[in-house]
Every structure is written in C-alpha cells, then in structure tokens.
Symmetry: C2
Subunit: 186 residues, 2 copies
DNA sequence: CTCCATTTTGGACGGTTGACCAAGAACGAG
DNA sequence: CTCGTTCTTGGTCAACCGTCCAAAATGGAG
C-alpha cells in the first residue's frame, strides 16, 4: 500500500554518481543534485539521507560498475593487458574525461569521512589483487610485478582526467606489460 | 613611507599552499586560511585578491618548489632514478601524505578556472620533458620511455596520498626504470 | 613632532550551503 | 469508495560562504 516512488532509485543514483564523478564531492551541492535529478532536496533527503550518505551510495554503485570491468575474458598476462586496454578505451571514449571516481576520491581523501577513506582503500586493494591473480595464472607470483601493473592502471586513470593523449596512456600500459614480462618494450 | 606589512608575503603563502595542498581547493574556506595564517579576511583580500587569485599564487609558489626537485645531480638514467627516489622519499617523509599539489589539482580540475587548468597542464608537460631530457642524455630518444617514467612518477604521487606503502612506490619506480633500460626488473 | 600613505580591523553584505519539517498529494489495499 | 501509509511539495532554518568597505591604527618620511 501507500504512495509509490515516482523515481527509480538506481537511475537517480546513476545521475548523482555522474555528478560527483565529474565535479568532485565538495564542488557538488544538494541543489545541483536536485536540478540534475529532478527531485527536490526534501525527497533526496528522505530517500538517501544527507550528502555524505548520498556520496557513499553513489560510490558503492560506481564500485560495482568498476568491478564489472575486472571481469576479463582471458587469464594470465593476457587478462591483465585486456583490463588495461579496457581502462584506456573507456577513458578515451568519455568526452568529459572524468577519469575514475575511486582515484579522484583518493586525491580528495582528506575531505572525506573515515568510512569513505576505508572504501577507497578497499577498492584500490581489490585492483591490486586483480593483477596479482592474473600474474599467478601466468606462473608469476611477484608482488613487485603486481605493483607495477597497479601503478600503470592508476596513472592511466589520473592522466586520462588530466587530458593526456591516448598515446601516453598506451605507452604506459605497454611499458608496464613489458616490465612484468621481462622484455624490452621497444 | 606609510605603514609596513606586518607579515611576510612568502611565508604566509607557504601556509596557504600547505592548506590547499592538504585539503583541496573547494574544502578550504577563506576563514580557514585566516585562522592558519593569523590574518583577517580583509587583509588577505587586500594583499592577494580573492580565493581564486590566492590559489593561483599558492600554486605558483608550489611549482617553484617542484622545479627545484627536478634539479638532479646525475645525468641520464641515473638522473631519472634520482628524481623518482626523491619523490618517494619526500612522499614517505610527509606524515600527512599530501601527495603532490599539481597532481591533486589535476584530479580536481573540473572545479578550477581555465588559467589553473593551463598551469596544471604546463607543469605536467615540464615533468614529461624532464624525463625526455634525461633519456636523451642516455642516448635514448624514445618518447614512449619518457611516458613510462612520467606515468611512474604520477602513480607514485597519487598512491603516496592514498596511503600506499613505500614498497609499492619503490616497485613502481624500479619497474619503470627496468622497462626503459630494457631489462628484467626481477 | 607632524603628516599621510598604507595596512589592519571589524563588520556588513547578499547569496548559498546542507538539513530538515509540516502540510498536502497520491495511490494501493481492503 | 474509504482509509492509511508513504511520498512529494514548498518552505524554513541557522550557519557559512566569499567579497568588500569604512574607519581606526601604524610607523616611516620630512
């Protein structure tokens, strides 16, 4: 019974995520969110709580999307490369060059409450683990190699937001793959 | 003649830089700046202009400090490594793990006016050029190699702020150096 | 010691922020 | 059709935002 929601929670959250992703937490006001979602501040508050709660929800939704990218078709080094290529493709495709919400949030960390900081750390760890798993599949259990690929992914995400050319991103991916394969990338 | 300034412009700017560096542009209010500098908002406005002007000044001062780091003792690959090591040492030394103001600003870019965006781009380019020069000294004119070292520097700076261990940063530096030297980093 | 350019003070300004609430509207259950 | 629960509306709220100004304080030049 009772009056049903006039909006779809998940699609509203998508719009909110987009906003935080593109502008950053501090730069987005509740009014901004109200405008782009078409909801009133009151409705937002009733449905999602305060701004901090809303960001946490958006961050969680983004995290799920992010996990999906980590499901790759190939195992081993090929899977690692596939993932890096996906990152580059997604970064270049996006006309707004928003980069990655997780990495962006990491750079804005000081402004966020403890729970968000923890969530960022967990997401970063998951990414590191992804590369460790792919390396294990390739018979390379080197922690250092995982760090190299992890670092490459991070710099690709940051530099995409900083408007660097696809060539730069591609060179970084190639360099990291070359380093872990133990061969000259030239 | 006339009343002299009661404060040192450069040391006030240092404190302001520290604040923007640690918290980000949006998260810092004029009141915050007034509190940490001991100056009133009125004085700040008279001496430095508005918040945006103040940030530009702080960014410029930081840029000069950043340039100083790029003056290394060695030429060639050794100079590149020296720089990466300096970055890691500085990152680990800092108890606040502020990372790098330039890179942090790049992640917050959307919130900044055009002049700042341009300044960020220039600083990033200068860093890329630094590596290109060191590679040239080593007889390696590979643009791709410059990108690899550049990417390593960026990820080191970002991950330092994200509270990653020194090991991670070190592995990234080693990996990049190994990749451009064309040898197995293990 | 006097003068006066400049800085500093203290506060006002309009606008915006995030948070929240009372009243009314909507709709499904019965 | 009625009831009751939930959502939506429209607004208030105090706090803070960045900006700027008039008046007072300052101290070097002469």
């Amino acid at each position: 019974m009772a009056r049903p929601r006039s909006f779809d929670t998940s699609s509203v959250l998508s719009k909110v995520t987009e906003l935080f992703w593109s502008e950053g937490y501090e730069a987005v006001s509740i009014q901004d969110i109200a405008k782009t979602t078409g909801l009133r501040p009151g409705s937002l508050h009733a449905a999602f709580g305060n701004k901090s709660d809303l960001f946490a929800l958006a961050f969680e939704q983004y995290g799920a999307r992010f996990d999906a990218h980590m499901r790759v078709d190939h195992a081993g080094l090929e899977g690692a490369r596939e993932y890096l290529e996906k990152l580059i493709a997604a970064a270049i495709e996006d006309p707004d060059r928003k980069g990655c919400l997780i990495v962006n949030t990491a750079s804005e960390l000081a402004a966020h409450p403890e729970p968000i900081r923890i969530a960022v750390g967990q997401r970063l760890d998951r990414m590191k683990s992804f590369f460790r798993e792919r390396l294990a599949e390739a018979g390379k259990d080197s922690e250092a190699s995982a760090h190299i690929l992890f670092g490459a992914a991070i710099s690709i995400l940051v530099l995409a937001r900083a408007d660097q050319s696809e060539t730069v991103l591609q060179d970084i991916a190639n360099g990291a793959m070359g380093a872990v394969a133990g061969q000259d990338p030239h």
